[in-house]
């Protein structure tokens, strides 16, 4: 087990290395940072000098090597846009994104699983059909539109919730939290719903689809035949057997929530990493983008490792072969 985890961690370093390499090969397609970094009157010579200083004229492998050398020394570079060390910037933004993602994922799971079980158990009830259709509307409408509509209804027309930002935050050490103030909690509601909507629909449909399947298999019939209560059958046997795909997808979705809260964060001006990243893309802020992508790669590696470990926990059959990636 330990060897397995260790091996995965070594692999994860490789993953991060390749992510950085790929990232550097795509940055030049994003545009030119120089035009954003200087005013319109700055001379051509100045622009060229800056370009040379930043090494933008160097071939991609050279730029990449320079970045890696910096990272090994613990230097992630300075943001082109803001002029601050990138690691500091990202650390500052991390809490906002993690708190939002956590609440969004919780919302998706707590609402998605019961809704999935219900629609799976009673596929023909009208409530099931309403839930299914509503969830699909949530998927088909773009995040941006959902966010703005929520803002329009609850922020502008009803005046119940703040339209943007995180509200008052409290700093505890390096962490800033919105959980401890009323305005912080209120500010979380709409972004979390917007962000979790898609995952909710996905989780609900997956659970439903797996429930439908499992309920018709023989071992459920046997369980019923043994005289187990409905409750025990549904939750002890049926739900447990739906969990492998659900865990996989939930894991991936949590990764995606953290990584790509970009649109939600920008609609609600939520000061997290996603907002930082989209501004970095617009500005071609290479140090911020590369560091962000490496961090996200790390998140995905960790989440997928956790998912693989969870497989063992929920499905004993997998232990036989040690099939989860390493024997």
């Amino acid at each position: 087990m330990l060897a397995f985890v260790l091996r995965r961690l070594v692999q994860s370093l490789l993953v991060m290395f390749f992510v950085a390499l790929l990232a550097f090969s795509m940055f030049r397609f994003l545009g030119d940072p120089i035009a954003q970094m200087v005013g319109q009157d700055t001379s051509l010579q100045e622009r060229e000098r800056l370009r040379v200083e930043l090494g933008l004229n160097d071939p991609v492998p050279v730029q990449f090597a320079r970045y890696v050398a910096g990272v090994l020394k613990g230097e992630f570079g300075i943001s082109y846009r803001i002029g601050r060390p990138v690691d500091e910037l990202i650390a500052e933004r991390l809490p906002a994104t993690l708190e939002l993602s956590f609440v969004a994922a919780l919302f998706a799971l707590l609402a998605g699983i019961p809704m999935g079980v219900y629609t799976g158990l009673y596929p023909d009830r009208w409530l099931s059909k309403v839930l299914l259709s509503l969830s699909l509307m949530g998927i088909a409408l773009p995040t941006f539109l959902i966010g703005i509509l929520l803002i329009l209804i609850f922020g502008v027309n009803l005046g119940l919730l703040p339209t943007f930002g995180r509200g008052e935050v409290v700093h505890i050490g390096f962490w800033s939290t919105g959980f401890l103030t009323i305005s912080g909690l209120k500010s979380l509601i709409m972004p979390a719903i917007t962000l979790g909507m898609f995952q909710l629909a996905l989780i609900m449909r997956l659970v439903r689809s797996e429930m439908l399947e499992v309920l018709r298999t023989d071992f459920i019939k046997f369980a019923r035949a043994r005289g187990l209560s409905n409750r025990a059958v549904y939750f002890g046997h049926a739900l447990k057997n739906t969990l492998v795909p659900v865990i996989t997808i939930t894991g991936l979705q949590i990764g995606s929530i953290i990584a790509f809260a970009i649109i939600t964060e920008s609609v609600f001006q939520w000061p997290g990493m996603g907002l930082l990243f989209i501004q970095a893309i617009q500005f071609v802020d290479i140090p911020v983008m590369s560091t962000y992508l490496i961090l996200i790669a790390f998140f995905f590696v960790v989440i997928n490792l956790t998912v693989d470990l969870l497989y063992y926990a929920v499905d004993p059959r997998l232990r036989v072969h040690g099939g989860a990636g390493g024997k």
Binding site: F29, K129, L136, L141, E210, E213, P245, Y311, G323, G325
Partner: protein
């Protein structure tokens, strides 16, 4: 003669089959199928049935922009559903836009499904180093939002191909970009399910009787892991269609003068506050309806094809 009767024969067999029966007996499924079919047909035949060619800039009149739908006082019969910010007839724009979106959406999802399911089954079934390699590549892929992948694909294609063919390749670039960025989700899900399936008795039995690995994977494991694949696939259709709009904003997709469904929504967003709701709501509804029907069809298909349920 012979072939005709054989055709009739197979037709009869199809109508006698369980699949047809289960289709017929679900009213929702039939409705979804009709909606999907109508939309696809409309999209295909839009050049012949649309009142206006919204992709021909010469046919637009800016002074007609923001005309409301016909049931408003300012509406005109010429523009049933009103016009957008450039004076495009909304109805025609929807038809033409859906044409691009449906094509891009379906093909892109198909591409990611093909790559993802293949690699997922292999990773799960073969295991070991192959599994580790595939899954780590998936991790790398996961990290990059589709837009970055698209920029890379676009940049490389533009670099290696002559300028003249660029415009013709726009759709290929979009489909590749969206397809490539979507596969890991399928791969991981299928791999997870394969891990479960491969230790089940029926697979062990197949192995004992000496079936080839590829046969087992294809005809035994694969059908049993398709449930989640259909769920993800049908849902990802919406993502692909909206993703295409983001790409067009980045200058990688189709130009704004030839708006897709997603682009219509993106542009329409700007007019939510100003009261010109029809510019965003009609394309939004069209997309929602399409996604809804395709998902319902997907649900039915999953049940109908599932060997465990028969």
């Amino acid at each position: 003669m012979l072939s005709q009767s054989r055709f009739a024969d197979s037709l009869r067999r199809f109508f006698d089959s369980d699949i047809w029966y289960s289709f017929k007996s679900s009213r929702v499924t039939v409705a979804a199928a009709i909606v999907t079919a109508v939309m696809i047909l409309t999209a295909i035949f839009s050049p012949w049935i649309a009142p206006q060619n919204p992709f021909d800039p010469a046919s637009l009149d800016l002074m007609d922009a923001f005309t409301p739908p016909v049931w408003y006082e300012d509406g005109v019969p010429k523009y049933l559903l009103g016009t957008d910010d450039q004076g495009r007839d909304m109805l025609s724009a929807l038809m033409y836009g859906a044409r691009i979106s449906i094509f891009v959406g379906f093909v892109a999802v198909l591409v990611s499904m093909l790559i993802g399911v293949t690699l997922g089954v292999i990773a799960g079934y073969v295991g070991g180093a192959v599994d580790a390699l595939i899954m780590r590549i998936a991790d790398i892929q996961f990290t990059f939002p589709a837009i970055l992948v698209a920029l890379l694909v676009d940049g490389i294609m533009r670099g290696i191909l002559p300028k003249e063919v660029h415009d013709d390749l726009v759709l290929v670039v979009i489909i590749l970009a969206l397809g490539v960025s979507g596969w890991p989700q399928f791969a991981r899900t299928v791999r997870g399910s394969t891990l479960v399936e491969k230790n089940k008795e029926y697979v062990l039995a197949a192995r004992v009787i000496g079936l080839k690995r590829s046969t087992i994977m294809l005809s035994h494991v694969l059908p049993n892991v398709l449930g989640p694949v259909l769920v993800i696939g049908t849902i990802n259709l919406a993502i692909a269609i909206l993703g295409e709009a983001t790409l067009s904003f980045l200058g990688v997709g189709v130009p704004p003068t030839e708006p897709s469904l997603g682009t219509l929504i993106r542009i329409g967003n700007d007019f939510l506050f100003s009261g010109e709701w029809w510019i965003v709501i009609f394309p939004g509804l069209t997309l929602a309806l399409l996604v809804l029907s395709v998902n319902l069809l997907g649900d039915w298909l999953r049940d109908a094809l599932n060997p465990k349920l028969r």
